[in-house]
């Protein structure tokens, strides 16, 4: 393992441990206040946890356990941080901003500028070299900030929602740049956007309330989410309960039939989840008797357009929020309005059931 961390900070109810392999990029997903920025702060040395330790390869970043009080200052860690705001030094032009890292590492002015030019070119920002930060758009500034972080040759690159402040036109360009530069690099990227996780990360970690609640390869987590947060991001309905041969049983006794992975069967009482896309849900008025075995009375809370479909959001008896995607025509036929009691029916063939 190339990077390892274990840290807790009681004041922020923060306690995580994680590790990164060489060249691996990990995406951190989680709601506001989950502790994502706190994690990056602890790694970069801007925030001191109460206890724990971290190291990159053989270099100990900090060790506050076992009575040792080792604490490396941020500038000795090799962990460049890029946040939502580019925070380019306003008194330096783009080139000198990028040259800042090499200069700080002791390179000559000329050498640092050369390195800076290399990295500016790498993020397609050479024409901006002589502009002051105040003359850059948000997207341009963010690309220069990426170049600046990379020019410092960090062993671990930390990105805190680098695209959150950009508009829909600037974000894809930066994402493309990041995809290129993060390829063989250790990096941790905090994001709210599942696209970032798909495109940039080898692995995702979902955090909630200062704890890691789920982690795994990006596809696994987003296609077979185990946390409501991840399911929300992936656009899936998620129902938790106990695994059975048929599917799962929810705590209030409802049975969700679904498909297990082939050749696998649950141990009795094992916790599991059932996940299914809103497009697999049909909406009916009144009772139904048909081939789909999963049918639940719910109350509509909301109707929203969703692409060329209508997304029907509803709360089930077990207070779990479910959604269904139906055509506008079907919605109009049924006369759906918020507050209406309807029945959601899911074909069990489309429900994936797996351990939580």
């Amino acid at each position: 393992m190339s990077f390892e961390l274990q840290a807790s900070l009681h004041a922020r109810n923060f306690d995580m441990s994680l590790s990164l392999a060489d060249g691996e990029t990990v995406a951190i997903l989680g709601p506001n206040g989950a502790g994502k920025s706190t994690l990056l702060g602890v790694i970069s040395g801007l925030l001191r946890p109460d206890s724990g330790s971290a190291r990159i390869a053989d270099k100990q970043l900090f060790n506050l356990d076992d009575g040792t009080r080792l604490w490396k200052a941020p500038h000795l860690r090799g962990t460049a941080l890029l946040a939502q705001e580019a925070l380019l030094f306003p008194h330096l032009n783009a080139l000198d901003n990028v040259a800042f890292g090499p200069r700080s590492a002791g390179a000559s002015k000329v050498a640092a500028r050369e390195t800076a030019q290399h990295w500016l070119a790498e993020v397609d920002a050479m024409p901006l070299a002589n502009r002051k930060p105040s003359q850059l758009s948000g997207g341009q500034a963010q690309r220069v900030a990426v170049a600046r972080a990379l020019a410092a040759e960090p062993e671990l690159l930390l990105l805190d929602e680098p695209m959150a402040a950009l508009d829909i036109h600037a974000a894809p360009l930066l994402r493309r740049v990041l995809k290129r530069v993060l390829k063989d690099r250790k990096a941790i990227i905090v994001t709210h956007d599942v696209l970032d996780a798909y495109m940039l990360a080898d692995r995702v970690i979902v955090v909630e309330k200062g704890r890691i609640v789920e982690e795994g390869p990006t596809r696994d987590v987003l296609e077979r989410p185990r946390s409501h947060f991840a399911a929300g991001l992936a656009g899936l309905n998620l129902v938790t309960g106990t695994l059975t041969e048929e599917g799962i049983t929810t705590p209030d006794g409802r049975v969700f039939a679904g498909q297990h992975d082939s050749g696998w069967s649950p141990s009795p009482g094992q916790a599991g989840v059932a996940a299914f896309p809103p497009s697999s849900v049909s909406v009916f008025l009144g009772d139904v008797h048909g081939s789909p075995r999963n049918s639940f009375p719910v109350t509509i809370t909301d109707l929203e357009p969703h692409g060329d479909q209508i997304r029907v959001r509803a709360a089930g008896g077990s207070a779990q929020a479910l959604s269904a995607d139906i055509t506008p025509a079907a919605s109009a036929d049924l006369g759906l309005v918020p507050g209406m009691d309807v029945r959601f029916v899911v074909k069990s063939a489309l429900v994936a059931v797996y351990p939580a």
Binding site: L46, L81, E85, L87, S137
Partner: protein
């Protein structure tokens, strides 16, 4: 970019301007009154007399020196107060601000008790062959003592409002604290530092009580412009008023420039 306010709302009620005018009058009228009292035909000869010029020259030299000293000592103090965290920080701030509110004569006495021949440090200094009393050094020391808080207060404010986000980024880019200070912190707060320095200079220029008590008053050595004014007043109030006006003019120019410059650079450095 998002930080920049799109709007320029100024909702100051009109009566506020009226009260402000009264407040402004309180300050401006005395100056007008002074100008009115000046014996204009004699103005130029009065202010170009030999002692006046000597005093003005000495004032400018010592004020420049004490401003330098204020910068050298005040920048670290402001940094420590704005960024550091240590026990007694509040007390240190109160102490550093003290010369702002201390009657300068008392400040002069205190300096005498410290650097004077029989003072706390003075004894050791005398053994080392350094004599401060009655020298231009004493003037500079007195001026630094009273002017230091101006620099520290201005700069601490600038440091606090600049925040430490740029510094944190610089550190993660591998910059040692000293590099961060030199290449990020100081350039960012340059306007605050400049206006602090200018205020210090102006305060040094006006310093009277502490100098009189601590340094004495000898033409060309320790008699600065305010001391000359005080002395002239005994015999020739006209000359005193004329000299005061010179001091006022220098101070207004210096303060006006300082604040003008600060606002200008605040506008252009808006992203911070």
């Amino acid at each position: 970019m998002n930080r920049r306010s799109t709007f320029g709302y100024h909702g100051v009620p009109r009566w506020v301007y009226a009260v402000a005018a009264v407040g402004g009058m309180l300050v401006v009228l005395p100056l007008v009154a002074m100008v009115a009292k000046v014996n204009w035909p004699q103005f130029i000869p009065l202010i170009t007399s030999e002692p006046s010029l000597a005093a003005l020259g000495l004032s400018l030299r010592t004020s420049a020196a004490s401003t330098l000293l204020c910068v050298v000592l005040g920048v670290p103090l402001a940094l420590v107060l704005a960024r550091g965290e240590f026990p007694g920080q509040r007390l240190l701030r109160a102490f550093v601000l003290l010369p702002l509110v201390l009657p300068p004569v008392v400040g002069g006495i205190a300096l005498l008790y410290t650097f004077g021949r029989q003072g706390l440090l003075g004894k050791s200094l005398e053994v080392a062959g350094i004599q401060i009393a009655f020298s231009t050094t004493a003037v500079i020391l007195a001026q630094t003592f009273v002017a230091l808080p101006f620099l520290v207060v201005s700069l601490e404010g600038a440091l606090r409002s600049a925040g430490n986000r740029y510094e944190a980024v610089a550190a993660t880019l591998g910059a040692r604290p000293t590099t961060v200070l030199r290449r990020v912190t100081l350039p960012l707060v340059l306007p605050g530092l400049a206006s602090g320095a200018v205020l210090s200079f102006a305060r040094s220029l006006g310093e009277f009580g502490a100098t009189l008590t601590f340094a004495g008053s000898l033409e060309g050595v320790t008699r600065t412009l305010p001391l000359e004014i005080y002395l002239q007043r005994e015999t020739d109030p006209d000359a005193a008023v004329a000299l005061s006006l010179v001091l006022v003019a220098v101070a207004v120019a210096v303060v006006g420039l300082s604040y003008g410059r600060r606002r200008g650079s605040a506008a252009s450095g808006g992203q911070a």
